[in-house]
Amino acid sequence: MRQVEEEPRALQLDESESLDGGLRRDTMTINMGPQHPSTHGVLRLVLTLDGETILKARPEIGYLHTGIEKTAESKSYFKALVLTDRMDYLAPLANNLGYSLAVEKLLGVEAPPKAQYARVVLAELQRIASHLVWLGSSALDLGAQSVFLYCFRERELILDIFELCSGVRMMTSFIMPGGLQADLPPEFDEKVRAFLKLFPSRLREYHDLLTNNRLWIDRTKGVSLLTAEQAIQFGCTGATLRGSGVAYDVRKAYPYSGYERFAFEVPVGSNGDVYDRYLVRMLEMDQSIRIIQQALGGMPEGRWQVDDPKVAPPQKYEISSNMESLIHHFKLYTEGYRVPAGEVYLRTESPKGELGFYIVSDGGAKPYRMHVRAPSFANLQALPLMIEGSLLSDVVAAIGSIDIVLGEVDR
């Protein structure tokens, strides 16, 4: 048992001594991370402090560098897909979608309408799931513990839907070049509708817990400011950019996978603080629900993959009855398909921001070069701007508000 300490004595200052002369004014350099629960992975921040004020912040990354871009050069396009799941591991389907669209553009094929609608539904469900992890963990960082548990409860429902489709909860690889891995299960529509019915009321509960909560506002309003100009200069995208008042959303600016068919709005903040980024993501979840409803309502019938045996693998029953299917299957899973030489940069709006795939093909069956423009990478680069000059305790709020995933930052 620790002894109860005596009441601390009041600081005694010699009358003749000035404050500066009497107290040490050294700065201190501390490491925050790489193992720190609030850095959302393995981010290391080297902070130079004067008391509790941050004079200089330097993010150090690379602790989760897995060489995905290098590995992709030795995999066929077919197999490199699974690498993309592991970048932003909170939104694997968003990565699958970006990669698949880029490869499809190089191949010159387009996914059939049903696949496009299903991709939109899945990508928006993934956006909600990713935002729920962000909301739960960033609220937890600031001391709102119960929100975390509620968010994971709802995320579980979305993961159940993914499991229903693909058999996997997280690293689904369900969206592939040419369409989807499999047809949507018969219960899909019903399950998603059940989620859509439940979720808005749950979202209102989160608003009740946080949006007008005095403590939440005190910790987030006016904290870690980023002006629109700075956000653009540093290449921020996603809610980090929109929270500062720039209405850039790839789904509106460069629509892909049929997003131009759906009516939705892009929430934009104005102050560029943690609170505005919070509100932008909360409102984005509302818009995602709208998009899912429209896409489910208009879901066309038909194939879920392109009708091209050179790209889409044949069905299991065809392999045992059809010689050509067996050959196609063998070729696809051993050599893969050849992609015409060329280069493509395809941007999509992942839950974190602009996710870009730059793929260079030399005409072979493996990507000659795959570069991923990870939104978290650019957003993290702007972190020192937000936290320098503010207090140490606000660093946690700032990291939470830019919603980084280190798997994507380091790749």
Partner: protein, 215 residues
Amino acid sequence: MADERTQTPALPAESPTVAFLRQRLPDVLLEIAERLGETTIAVRPRAIVEVCQALRDDPALQYNFLSTITAVDWLEREPRYDLVYHLMSLPSGAVVRLKIQVGDDEQPEPEAPSVTSVWPAANWYEREVFDLFGIRFTGHPDLRRIEMPDDWVGHPLRKDYPLTGIQLPEPHWGGQVPFAEQLPAEIGRQTLREPGRVGDVSSGATASPAPDEAE
């Protein structure tokens, strides 16, 4: 955001960007390619900062957003590397890809001018290219490795860097062990599967699990 922004990332054949560069900086243009609805403009390497500055500052174009910078290693070709810049204009929605070729045989290390003065966002992208390709950016304020440890040897995304990695003195843990120092033979065999060996500081090396060489 302007309403008349383009719906696809494509520019028409003689886009305003190309027309602007033809008129303003005709000497630096090397090649203009239109493929898959994307415009690629190859320029002279030395002029890249000038081109970027002009594209950003022109009131009609306003390429104020740098999406990404990356490199491609064409091992056999000379110059060996392509540096690829993806720019975007938030006001108009136009996008363009700029390309320069770097890496002559005469130079010991490939070099390119840094565009950090045009877009601060270039800082980390150029550090990444320096780290993974070994292309040096002149005028970069803080050119250090970003993904790999500071004392790493080699540049992993080069095509001649083996996929299996290269043999390094172990353990190799961000500068804790002087890189050139030969370590006792048994240290290299330390693995997590040998309890008791890991964390044994008395052997003179800092404890860190080394890749299993026995495999």
